[in-house]
Each structure stands twice: as C-alpha cells, then as structure tokens.
Symmetry: C2
Subunit: 235 residues, 2 copies
C-alpha cells in the first residue's frame, strides 16, 4: 500500500543505491576515482544529483571525499575490516541478548520460519539463496530486539559488510556450519537465555571476520611480492 505511487523518491537516492551496488559488487573496486562527470553521463543525468548521492555515500563511509580532490572508493584495509566485524559481532550479540528477553510470539514464529527457510536452502545446496535467507534470519533477530535504533545500526553495518560476507559461503562447508550455528542461536533466543544468545551470535559473526581475514591474508601472500605496502592507485 505504498509501492503503488511510482517514484516518490529523490533521484539522488536511486543513484546512491546504484552507485553503492556498483561498489559492493566490485564494478568500482577500492581505490577507484569516481569522476562526477563520468558518472553523470553514465547515468544520463547532471552532476547535481550525482554529487548529492556521493555525499550521502560518503557520510556512511562507502566513499571518501577529499576536498577539491573528488571522491574515491576507500581502500578498506584488512585491519579496518576486522574492526568492522568486531563491532558487527557486538551489535549482533546485543540484538540477540535483547531478543531473548523481549521476543514476542509472532516474532518467534517469524524467526523459526526464517530458520527453516535457511534449512531448505542448505539442503538444496544453493549458496545464493542461503545468503539471501540468512539476511532475513538476522533481520528477524534485529527486529525482535525491540530497539529500532539498534536494528537500524545493525542493518546499516550488515549492508556495508555484505560484499565481504558473501565470499564466505562458497568456502567448503561454510553453509552447513553456519546453519548449525543458527540452530544454536534460535534455541538460545526461544529459550530466553540472554547471555547464551549473545555469545553464540557474537561467535557466529566473529568467525566470519576471522575467515575473511585468513582469506585476505592468503590472497595477499599470493599477489604481493615480498614487500609492497604503498598502494596508491593500483601501481
């Protein structure tokens, strides 16, 4: 009852989402200079909405704007990613603790439903579907925390980490272990065990960060000649 009015939304927001999409999907890899004119032509609009979109993306950390020097996709050093996963883990843990104490019957049903949907995707061996349903699962927990602000923060960070999370599920057996972790999470939340829910969720997220770090370290070792620390613009 809201999607009927076609586009009551600013163009700059749509552009922001499109650019975000291009960033997280790797069309604009880290370090890319985002030329306003190029983007404008590429989308067939003027520079104005492009600028607004970039400013918005900059304020959530997805691009970096340096005065008089334009926008670039930030490099996302592995260290920083670890930090972000560390915070994400804590936010999820907090959601879990609160959810265990506050979840309502209807939300319990939603959570179980999402969990069972994940099970189906796992059995089907479909990582992409699992990835998608996994988001629904986690969002159900966010909502069950009954802290709207927390849910927003968690969602925002979740989105930002999306591209890095996505790599994980291809790793051997990740989907299976993820699912069994989910089972423990559901049990703790439905059982009202606040601390358990928090610690299990924290571990569930942290392990992703660690796995990703390992992955990066491996890739780094492969790509880099012994010492190459000065990454300026792909040199």
């Amino acid at each position: 009852m809201q999607a009927l009015t076609p586009p009551p939304v600013r163009l700059s927001e749509q552009l922001g989402e499109s650019i975000e999409e291009r960033i997280v999907t790797g069309v604009y890899p880290p370090g890319t200079r985002l030329d306003e004119q190029e983007l404008a032509e590429s989308f067939g609009v003027s520079r104005t909405p492009i600028r607004e979109a970039l400013i918005q993306l900059a304020s959530i950390g997805l691009v970096e704007i340096r005065p008089r020097r334009g926008a670039t996709v930030p490099e996302m050093a592995p260290d920083r990613l670890c930090e972000m996963f560390e915070v994400m883990a804590e936010l999820e843990a907090m959601c879990g603790r609160l959810a265990a104490r506050r979840i309502l019957p209807a939300e319990q049903a939603r959570l179980l439903e999402a969990h069972q949907a994940c099970e189906a995707a796992r059995q089907a061996g479909d990582p992409d579907l699992y990835y998608q349903l996994n988001e629904v699962f986690h969002r159900a927990i966010y909502d069950a925390s009954h802290n709207g602000f927390l849910a927003e923060q968690a969602t925002a960070l979740h989105r930002r980490l999306r591209p890095f999370r996505r790599l994980q599920l291809r790793v051997r057996n990740r989907m299976n272990t993820s699912f069994s972790e989910h089972a423990a999470i559901v049990e703790a939340i439905l059982g009202g065990d606040s601390e358990k829910a928090g610690s299990v969720l924290r571990a569930h997220v942290i392990v992703q960060g660690e796995r990703f770090t390992d992955l990066v370290a491996t890739l780094r070792q492969m790509h880099n000649p012994p010492e190459a620390e000065l990454a300026q613009a792909g040199t």
Copy 2:
C-alpha cells in the same frame, strides 16, 4: 603541520556543522521545518551547499528529508532516545572491555590525565567545564580500544546524544556521582579487568538514559493536558 592551510574544506561541511549546532542547541527545536531558501539567506550562500549539508545531516539521522516536502528536525520521541542510550551504553561497554585488554602505557597516562582534569572541574563546581572534560575522558577510552571504527561509531553517537546528556549535569550531585563512576572505570581499565570495565561503563551510560527519561516524563506530565499526542508544529 596541517592547520596552517586555512580552509581546505567544503562549504557544505561547515554549513552542516553550523546547522547541526543550531539543532543540538535548540535553535531549531524538533519539528522545525528547515526551509532551504531561508537557510541559504541566513548563511549568505546559495541553496546548493545548503542542500548538500542537509543531505549529509539526513544520512546521520539529524534531520529528516521527505521527498518533495523538504527537511525537518526529527521529533526524537523519548522511546527512541532510550533506544539510543541503550546502544550507546553497549558501545561504551565494548570500548571499555577492549581498552582494558589493549591500552598502552601512553594511553594509560592520557586517561589518568583526563580523569584528574575532571576532578579539578568537579572541585571547582563547574558543570560546563566538567562536561567538556568528560568528553575528553570518554574519547580517551574510545581510542584505547584500538578499534578505529568502533571509536568513530561511538564518537558519532556521543555527539548525537550530546544535547540530552548536557541537561544531566545540572541535576543535583550528578557531577559527583559521575566522577566516582569515572574512578571505578579507570580502576577497571588500568587493572586490566575487561568485564568489570565493560559493566561499569554500561551502567555509567545507562543511568544517564534513565535519568533523562525520568526528566522527560516529568516535563511531559507538567506540560501536557491528559491526552495530547498530536504534536505537529508547536500548536
């Protein structure tokens, strides 16, 4: 060696800060419509940088932009404020836990220094000074967590809650109890007691949220005839 180049900063950013200042200091109370032209004239600039500033403020939640309807200062329902304090408490707790494990000698010195400065302000009975030094104290903890992303998040939320926090210190004896809580925090962090540091910091922040809620409830009861829920524009 960087503050010499006078203003290598976008005008829209400065405007954003000015507008933010006006919002948090109550010049633009919640519910205010922010007319772009008015703001532009008020600052002596064109609408363009004003728009950019508003978009940036909107993306951090300080203003609300509805398409084709302009920007307003969001109402900040007491419920939402409680939620924000709840999250703030957890972020600070996390900073504390990490700081207790990771703090370096130089940072220990900084923390003690900030603590002692607060002591001076307390003895002088200067709430404004205490308020300021309190920020330094907390920032020292953020930094000692050695998680730059966490520190940024905590700082951002801290800023956003600033206006509400500020009211607290006028409450009878709040400065004294705040200071003794600080002492416990310092002891836990320097003692390396991670869990203690977290729980003490959480309580330190939560109590502010609760006190604020009480305050709001009191004010609400005073101002409102039995049922007045429709607050549109100061009617």
